[in-house]
Symmetry: C2
Subunit: 170 residues, 2 copies
């Protein structure tokens, strides 16, 4: 199989899927408008939110600890990749380098993203995981305020069919 | 300050502090009867419980991922230590070795224990953290059934004053 084309994304935001009461992390193309929602666990959503808000607890939380150990071992997370979707579950992997050693570890997208944010590592998504519909559902005008952004997100999530995008089963 | 005397412990069990609805991990001396309860977060309690029950999810959870990365980097967790209690909060550290490198990372006791179980690493507690009262409160006769064990634990926790032992503030 040819290596899937990978597209760099940024974490656009987090939301709560009100219907299922499940947190969703939303990735958006770094150089485009397509977005990908990934249903994740509550803990991992907190870990992502805290890093996005640059909140720091007095003591390291689990993903902070992982980042501290990696740095202590002089290891670098060169990138994380969300590379597949099978049976409604997204699959990701973390690429770690230490000197000449290269390590690839399978991980949940949520852990991968939480770690990438802490290690300042780029996040990639296989292009086939984006759907054209997702772009179509985006509004023409960018939201101006936090309220508009929340409202846009709410409407966008309502339009999505979770079955189409994969839902993390905790 | 002289290096505190360290005592090896095992994870005796997990319980729910019914009054405060907070999970508690209970450590017991490997070669003795004294126990130490540490109030922890829900996620970390799950991570400890899963490893104790040897439950395996299809995909690695956060502490599994940390263990996989450490193994991939050929690093060893030589031990974890719960070494201090200040303002009702326990402090722990994780000792990692990789070849000639030695790394000490501050961590919460919960993360330290969850990782130690996965890396088959010994857990130590500074001897001054045990209180004589805790031994006194243990019943003479060891519980025979799971129900008796749960009942004993419940009574024991009731007798404890959380302020005396430190409570993790999530």
């Amino acid at each position: 199989m040819a290596k899937a084309s990978m597209i760099e994304v940024k974490v656009w935001g987090l939301a709560l899927d009100e219907k299922n009461k499940v947190p969703v992390v939303i990735l958006q193309e770094a150089q485009g408008k397509r977005r990908l929602p990934i249903w994740i666990g509550t803990n991992e959503a907190s870990a992502i939110a805290m890093e996005m808000d640059e909140k720091r607890f007095q003591r390291p939380l689990t993903h902070d600890l992982m980042a501290m150990i990696l740095r202590g071992l002089k290891a670098v997370v060169t990138r994380v990749e969300v590379f597949d979707l099978r049976e409604n579950t997204f699959y990701a992997r973390i690429l770690v380098e230490r000197g000449a050693e290269i390590l690839t570890v399978d991980a949940r997208p949520s852990d991968s993203i939480a770690l990438a944010l802490r290690m300042r590592s780029p996040i990639y998504v296989a292009s086939h995981l984006f759907s054209e519909d997702m772009e179509a559902s985006l509004p023409e005008k960018a939201p101006q305020t936090e309220e508009e952004k929340a409202e846009e997100l709410r409407r966008w999530l309502e339009d999505l069919n979770p079955k189409d995008f994969g839902k993390f089963q905790p």
